[in-house]
Amino acid sequence: MQKQEFTITVYTENHIGLLNRIAVIFSRRKINIESLNTSPSEVEGIHRFTIVIDELEEVVRKLVRQIEKQVEVLKAYYNTNDEIVWQELALYKVSTDEIAEKVKVERLLREYGARAVVIRKDYTIFETSGHREETNRLIRVLEPYGLIEFVRSARVAIIKASSGFHEKIKEFEATDPSDDLIENEYLGKQQEIFSM
């Protein structure tokens, strides 16, 4: 088995200190977080973390169980890149004079699907989104024209097979776990999961 990129999705209560509680699960094992996003989910009061790490699946599976064990974590999933649709947002600040002079730049930006967010006399900010390679490519293209500043967001990802958290939350709010509550996600996958 080889290390590969995994996206970990965590649904949590919106409580102070939870970010630290999740972060120490990684730092204790000396695992670097490549990207981390946290923001409110579609369900009120529930936050969603999206964490990207480069690791062995075996390690990721154990990590996810440790995360899910935290009292204020409702559910944690991990997925390979094939199983998700993801984007990162990027902002590029360039000199307005430069782009005014060189029409080519604007054409380039259009090619990359970028749009202007702010246009001022001294600078213009463009925004685009995409995978890491796509936003990186635009940096390289803009560099000759005097890229002043660049910033990129963490990854946000939608799990292709997920049906959202609205239904799941009802199960969590129920006092008794229902029969169809899939607590054991490896149920029926014994052969795939276990090597023995």
């Binding site: 200190g17 204790r28 169980r65 064990k69 204020e72 974590v73 969590f172 776990p177 149920l187 023995m196």
Partner: protein
């Protein structure tokens, strides 16, 4: 005047104004807490002020150091099965709890620790005795929370107790700012907690996994049960015994599982791990089905993991899903509380006996007796051995005492040789290996089980780490027996230096004070024994003394604990010498 305590007795229709401190103490009473181990200080003074009026309902034990307080609460919890409660002040009071929290976290001990904190408006200003307790304790608590508003106290305390005791138990720390302790608020009574939407204390039990486990057990020819503290924490000793007796499977224990099954039970094969018994270690690598119940495959149990039970199909019963497949891959993982899963399994298994298989264990046992045990328990010459102290102690207590051990050689000897007839009798720091644990834990154990005799077995290193708790014994007048096994060395480290570092004894020759004189200073009687022929009488005097007693036994300086699985070796490479 109506006191705050009356309020919880009757259904509250209207709110009443009380302080955060009173609400906290009401919560403790509602959770049936009767004993608190603590130490006051500036930031927790309002709680202590309120406690002054509650001394009839809540017994507060004033310890000599917060670490002693939390270890005492651990001993209390382990002996009684109840949640241990600790009070400490902010800053140094709170940081002194960290070792005990880490110990309780790794050994799954239910605790609720209340720490005072500076006023909310001073948070983050480097105020006097301010420290970021929540972030310091995050990795060593099951849950922690800071309260800055008294209105939160009833609900948060209810959650704290529920989280500490449910599922896989663990320590919870609640940090309360001084303003919240003082604040008057509209109190509407206490409601205990039995559900938190983000928290599943017990995983859903899957019938198909019980069936798969039963099928493996029924087909097994050489099955072997290994069990841990999960059996005790789940109050599942009877269910475990019923399972074992129907299945006829030989069983061995981790040191935290010790006393869940009586020592003399015919299916009890002994101790697992680095200094465990010969048979259980070797047979781990010979069995065809290994059934692990409420244990977590610690490295001190498994030795080298890639050579551990590779031939066996593994059934792992655990309440904590993250333990299954963590260290040893399970063929069948049975998620759930063993109090529920064991009877389900017992119903599906056939009644069997394995006389030839058990005979193999017995053969190894005979060899271990010849090579190790007889010499350790019945030495005829030389200095007293630790093992013979335990043997004589067994003869006198008849397995009825709670034995609290510290960490090191004497701990391994105590776990190997102490006999137990009932559960919750062996209290020791297993996962963290905290030297200094035993003396305060023994104090707590006595409060948790006042009707039982408590013997603290401690080395000359560990006793000096928390010796100040003799003051707690003096002040409370509690009756515990302190048995110091003094080999004038930090013995376990010395043993490793002898075996693996060419006898380079680097900083292990620790000097001791005159323990009997120290004890006398605290009003505790004691004596030192050096001669074999005085040992039994001295132990008898210790046990029959009506108050606490300190007995120091001078034991062989360079005795080693065997058998031993050297680090990095497989359990089948266990050495008898």
């Amino acid at each position: 005047m109506e006191t705050a305590i009356d309020i919880i007795e009757k259904p509250v229709k209207e709110t009443i104004k009380i302080t955060g401190s009173q609400a906290l103490l009401n919560a403790l009473i509602a959770e049936n807490v009767d004993t608190i181990f603590g130490y006051p200080g500036g930031a927790i003074m309002p709680i202590y002020d309120a406690l002054y009026d509650y001394h009839e309902q809540l017994k507060h034990i004033l310890v000599r150091h917060e670490q002693g307080g939390i270890h005492a609460a651990q001993g209390f919890a382990r002996a009684s099965g109840k949640v241990g409660v600790v009070f400490a002040t902010s800053g140094p009071g709170a940081t002194n709890l960290v070792t005990g929290l880490a110990d309780a976290q790794i050994d799954s001990t239910p605790l609720v620790c209340i720490t005072g904190q500076v006023f909310a408006h001073l948070l983050g200003t480097d105020a006097f005795q301010e420290t970021d307790v929540i972030n310091i304790t995050t990795p060593v608590t099951k849950w922690n929370y800071q309260i800055t508003d008294a209105c939160e106290i009833p609900e948060v305390l209810a959650k704290a107790f529920y989280i500490a005791r449910s599922g896989r138990p663990g320590p919870v720390l609640i940090d309360i700012t001084k303003n919240a302790q003082l604040q008057l608020f509209d109190y509407a009574g206490y409601q205990s907690c039995d559900h938190i939407r983000s928290y599943r204390p017990k995983p859903y039990i899957r019938k198909e996994f019980i069936e798969a486990a039963a099928a493996l057990i029924n087909a097994a020819e050489k099955p072997f049960v290994i069990f841990g503290q999960g059996v005790i924490l789940g109050n599942a000793e009877q269910e475990f015994k019923a399972f074992l007796e129907k299945s006829g499977i030989p069983a061995a224990w981790t040191i935290l599982g010790l006393s869940a099954l009586p020592t003399d039970h015919p299916l009890n094969m002994g101790m697992l791990g680095m200094h465990g018994n010969y048979g259980p270690n070797v047979m781990t690598n010979e069995c065809d089905v290994l059934i692990a119940i409420g244990m977590r495959f610690d490295d001190r149990v498994t030795g080298r993991l890639d050579k551990y039970a590779k031939q066996a199909k593994v059934i792992h019963l655990d309440i904590d899903p993250s333990e299954i497949d963590k260290n040893v891959k399970a063929t069948v993982g049975v998620w759930g509380d063993c109090k529920e899963t064991l009877p389900m399994l017992t119903r599906l298994i056939q009644t069997k006996v394995y006389p030839q298989w058990i005979e193999k264990f017995r053969a190894y046992q005979k060899e271990e007796e010849k090579e190790v045990i007889v010499n350790e328990l019945y030495p005829s010459e030389g200095q007293i051995s630790m093992g013979e102290v335990l043997r004589v102690l067994n003869e006198l207590t008849k397995g009825e005492a709670i034995v609290v051990s510290d960490v090191g050689q004497h701990q391994m000897v105590a776990c190997r040789y102490a006999k137990f007839n009932q559960t919750r009798s062996n209290i020791t720091s297993g996962g963290l290996g905290t030297m200094g644990f035993a003396l305060p834990a023994a104090i707590g154990a006595k409060f948790g089980a006042p009707e039982r005799a408590v013997v603290a077995v401690i080395g000359d290193g560990g006793i000096q780490m928390t010796i100040q708790e003799l003051g707690t014994i003096m002040q409370t007048g509690i009756d515990i027996k302190i048995l110091i096994l003094n080999n004038q060395f930090l013995g376990m480290v010395r043993q490793w230096q002898q075996l693996f570092h060419d006898k380079r004894y680097s900083f292990v020759d620790i000097a001791s004070p005159n323990y009997v004189t120290v004890a006398r200073g605290y009003g505790i009687s004691g004596e030192t024994v050096k001669e074999r022929n005085h040992l039994k009488d001295a132990l008898q005097r210790m046990l029959s003394h009506r108050e606490s007693y300190l007995l120091e036994v001078m034991v062989g300086k360079e005795n080693n604990v065997f058998p031993m699985v050297p680090q990095g070796c497989s359990v089948s490479e266990i050495r008898l010498k």
